[in-house]
């Protein structure tokens, strides 16, 4: 039985700016099943957010989807015209953004903003909508939801706003939720609560989730599958276990080694030398070659493709490393 919900094939999203062409996403392939949580990990500029926006069809000029397919339940989303896409956006696929302080309109009540989604995508009457709002607020852990309906965003703290945003995102029972750095702006104790909440809700509703973040610790606790991105390309993908415990790409290895271990003090952190290259002057061959400890001649001249090394685990590297724990 085909559980596959999303299939991205060869996605390329380029930004044509005055200074040059930014290949923000340069050939990305992955898939996501129903109810699965996928982590999209990478550092700033790797293109992970652009993938999310591409799926939602929210890429504005000077950017555009150059080529590739975004298959959602078999339908190629870039083919849809704006009207049809609007039926998908907000109903089938919803998005949670990073900054809870600016994701809500300060001029409208919480109820108004939650109902906006419902009015667009369902046929409930006012009574039913209000009931659903209270239900949702309760679901996301806001106490005394009925009394808070008429509150404005500024009357909520950051963590609570993010809960409201999650509620709005789940209001229409979407098949896919794209969460772009949903907890980066939150404190650790609040982050922990929000992440637990998100995991519980998506499991309950069998919603698929794409969790875009730079925080490897968060993905290691939340996700089923992980893809690691660098300079617009996927360098490694696999199950959470594959990536965290058995990573094969030098970049993933370097990334994991760079994080100070919470559980034990280290003498010195393993650092990846150099910097992320200028996205408009990517090296020919493997984008990571200039910084790679294991680089060989072939890496510099030929760009490696994603190759499966074990079922479900692929890496774009000619000389995959063995993880040393």
């Amino acid at each position: 039985m085909n559980n596959e919900l999303v299939h991205i094939r060869g996605l390329k999203t380029y930004f044509h700016t005055f200074a040059g062409v930014i290949k923000a996403v340069d050939g990305v392939d992955f898939s996501l099943d129903q109810g699965e949580i996928l982590g999209v990990v990478g550092e700033s500029g790797c293109g992970k957010s652009v993938v999310g926006f591409s799926i939602m069809g929210l890429i504005d000029a000077p950017g555009r989807i150059e080529s590739g397919e975004i298959l959602f339940n078999g339908v190629n989303l870039p083919d849809l015209d704006e009207r049809d896409m609007r039926k998908v956006r907000g109903k089938e696929i919803t998005m949670i953004f990073q900054d809870p302080m600016t994701s809500l309109n300060p001029l409208y009540t919480i109820q108004a903003q939650m109902e906006e989604v419902m009015k667009l995508h369902s046929t409930m009457n006012a009574e039913e909508r209000k009931k659903r709002c209270i239900e949702l607020l309760d679901d996301v852990g806001i106490s005394q939801p009925a009394s808070r309906l008429k509150n404005y965003p500024h009357q909520f703290s950051g963590g609570m706003r993010q809960r409201v945003i999650i509620a709005i995102a789940l209001a229409s029972n979407p098949k896919l939720v794209i969460a772009d750095e949903p907890t980066t702006a939150l404190d650790v104790t609040i982050q922990s609560q929000i992440l637990k909440l998100m995991k519980r809700l998506v499991r309950e509703h069998r919603t698929a989730m794409m969790l875009i973040t730079h925080d490897l610790a968060v993905v290691s606790e939340m996700t089923d599958k992980i893809i690691v991105m660098y300079c617009g390309r996927i360098v490694e993908k696999g199950t959470r276990d594959d990536i965290i415990n058995r990573c094969r790409h030098p970049y993933t290895l370097g990334l994991l080694g760079s994080i100070p271990n919470l559980a034990a003090r280290q003498k010195r952190l393993n650092q990846i030398p150099g910097m992320v290259p200028n996205i408009m002057q990517l090296p020919s061959g493997c984008a990571f070659a200039p910084r790679c400890d294991y680089v060989q001649e072939k890496c510099r001249s030929h760009r490696p493709e994603l190759l499966e090394i074990e079922p479900g685990h692929a890496t774009a590297c000619y000389y995959p490393v063995e993880r040393q724990l």
């Binding site: 930004f15 005055f18 200074a19 930014i22 923000a24 700033s44 500029g45 293109g47 200028n278 996205i279 408009m280």
Partner: protein, 297 residues
Amino acid sequence: MPTIIKKNQAFWASEFVHNFRGNSSAIIGSAIIIFFIFVVTLGPSLVRQNPYDIASLELMDAYKPPVWLPGGETKYILGTDGQGRDLLASIVYGTRISLLIGLAAMFCSSLIGATLGLIAGYYGGRWDGVIMRIADVQLSFPSLLIALFLMSAFGNGIDKVLISLTCVGWVVYARTVRGSTLSEKQKEYVQAAQAAGLPNRKIIVRHILPNVLTPLIVVATIQIGTFILIEASLSFLGVGVPITKPSLGLLVKNGFDVLLSGLWWTSVFPGAVIMLIVFGINLLGDFLRDELNPRLR
């Protein structure tokens, strides 16, 4: 969007110039301004007559119409005024005065306004309160009214016009600079300078001032037009520049008395020139405001 690390490009290859070329109003505005700079610098040597040299005037040539109307002469392309002065020459000299006053007023009021804005924004507290309250009070009166009042107290004269314009015009600079100062003050590089032991006045001059110049430039550009208009209004009302040094506004006034008797050119042409200059300044100012707007790095 990934961070783009820019190399030091030649100015001509920069995005600023590129956007400039694509923006028709910016080009038109700049063309107008460059044209008038040309008029002001080279004009007097190109027109045959110095309209303030009484000896060169011929009273017989008074109120000659422009060359394309019956009765016009090629000697006086735009016609003459009541004293026989060539209108084209008068406009050239008048533009000098108007622009001179506009620019000088801009420099004076920006100097004073920016200084006060920096003090108000950086030190805050009492300084801010006092300066901003004066500004608020002043803004509750129309600037023309204040200038009028001052000029009737001072009497006519270019320097007195400058003083009045400065008294009226400093407010907008002070407010703009104060706003920018407040926002720059929050930034960590100012705290770093404090931690480096710099005294406050050095911090203001070395750190804050260079970073508030951009909005200041935008405001200053547009203010030149405003000052030209106020001066023109003052002169039109007879309390501006003296008749020995007529600006465009005074020229309009001189022709105004005979406007309704059909001798329209003496008033209309200087008026049109005022409008054109201010229009050009506004076009360029709009472009600058959009371009120099701090955007995402």
